[in-house]
């Protein structure tokens, strides 16, 4: 093996070979987190275009129901609460992970996941209710924009939950390895990002949709 290497690299010692291929400049230690942050920023642009579509079409009712008639704010307030509390329970999971307490981390992950499921269930109920009322996405420009924006956010939450379950299994199998901690840190960013997007969903879509 080393014979082959020597002939191929023109008689350099292994140390020289390594030195040649070693990157000289300083790499950020947390390349993954920066990369994941860049993904989140591109996701942000996806949401920006959906928000722009809603801003343009949000009042095109086509003679159909308006936001003021359809939206039930107490329900939305409850859903907002679920997401906000899930943010802090994920924070608790990260604090436990930092203290390398696998059991507690898993417990908080379960609580976060359940809150996420509660949020999604309420949202699915709301969608079903709207479609049942004849206010499905095909009814008007307003409802198309509404369903694509809120639905995309809901899909993100769904994938967040899938990711959370995956990490739960990983933690059970391998414990708090550096890799798992890094993954948790990424999911933490993702989860908080979803809450950030939701701030603008409830303000821009629901609260402003109810205003005349």
């Amino acid at each position: 093996m080393s014979d082959i290497k020597a002939t191929m690299t023109g008689g350099m010692t292994p140390a020289e070979v390594t030195a040649r291929y070693m990157a000289r400049e300083h790499h950020p230690e947390q390349g993954t987190l920066l990369g994941f942050w860049l993904y989140l920023m591109s996701d942000c642009l996806l949401f920006a275009s959906l928000f722009a579509a809603y801003a343009v079409l949000g009042r095109n009712y086509a003679g159909g129901p308006t936001g003021a008639e359809l939206f039930e704010l107490p329900l939305i307030a409850l859903n907002t609460g679920f997401l906000l509390v899930s943010s802090i329970t994920f924070g608790m999971a990260m604090i436990s992970a930092q203290a390398k307490n696998v059991g507690k981390t898993k417990l908080w992950l379960v609580v976060t996941g359940l809150l996420g499921v509660a949020f999604l269930s309420l949202e699915i109920y709301e969608f079903q209710h709207l479609i049942h009322l004849g206010a499905g996405p095909q009814r008007s420009g307003f409802l198309t924009a509404f369903f694509s924006l809120v639905g995309t956010h809901g899909l993100h939450v769904l994938f967040g939950i899938v990711w959370l379950v995956t990490l739960f299994v990983q933690l059970s199998k391998h414990g708090m390895t550096p890799e798992n901690f890094r993954r948790l840190a990424c999911l933490s960013l993702f989860w908080h990002f979803l809450d950030l997007v939701w701030i603008f969903v409830f303000t821009f879509v629901y609260l402003m949709g109810v205003l005349p």
Partner: protein, 128 residues
């Protein structure tokens, strides 16, 4: 047993470059502020406290403040993380976001107000 091994691994790998420190205090402050900043807009809208036009701007303001609060206390964003690249990416995104949002609203607003009713009115006046 395996925990102990991992602990060693982690210590070796990290040499404290995990510059994010997850502290309970940060989360508590962020949560309390977010709760207040969420409750007030809901109260303003559900209680019809202010004129609708004023409410619109006030709740957008609250959303913007909550955005900053959550970025600091939940996402632990600061200008030093990742050698400033996090912040640079965020600024670029915000610029693009403003262009996309304001551009769409501006263009479509003008198209709605200038073309659609105008065309109808012109057509009728031309025909008479």
């Amino acid at each position: 047993m395996s925990d102990h091994h991992n602990e060693h691994d982690h210590g070796h790998h990290g040499h404290d470059s995990y510059q994010i420190h997850y502290s309970g205090k940060d989360y508590a402050i962020g949560f309390a502020l977010s709760l207040i900043l969420t409750a007030i807009p809901f109260w303003l809208v559900m209680g019809n406290v202010l004129a609708p036009e004023t409410t619109r701007w006030v709740i957008l303001g609250f959303a913007a403040v909550q955005l900053v609060v959550q970025m600091i206390y939940f996402l632990h964003l600061n200008s030093k993380a990742e050698g400033g690249w996090n912040m640079m990416a965020l600024i670029l995104t915000l610029v693009l976001l403003v262009i996309v949002m304001s551009g769409s609203i501006w263009v479509m607003h003008h198209m709605n107000t200038n073309m659609m009713p105008g065309m109808g009115a012109e057509n009728t006046s031309d025909m008479t």
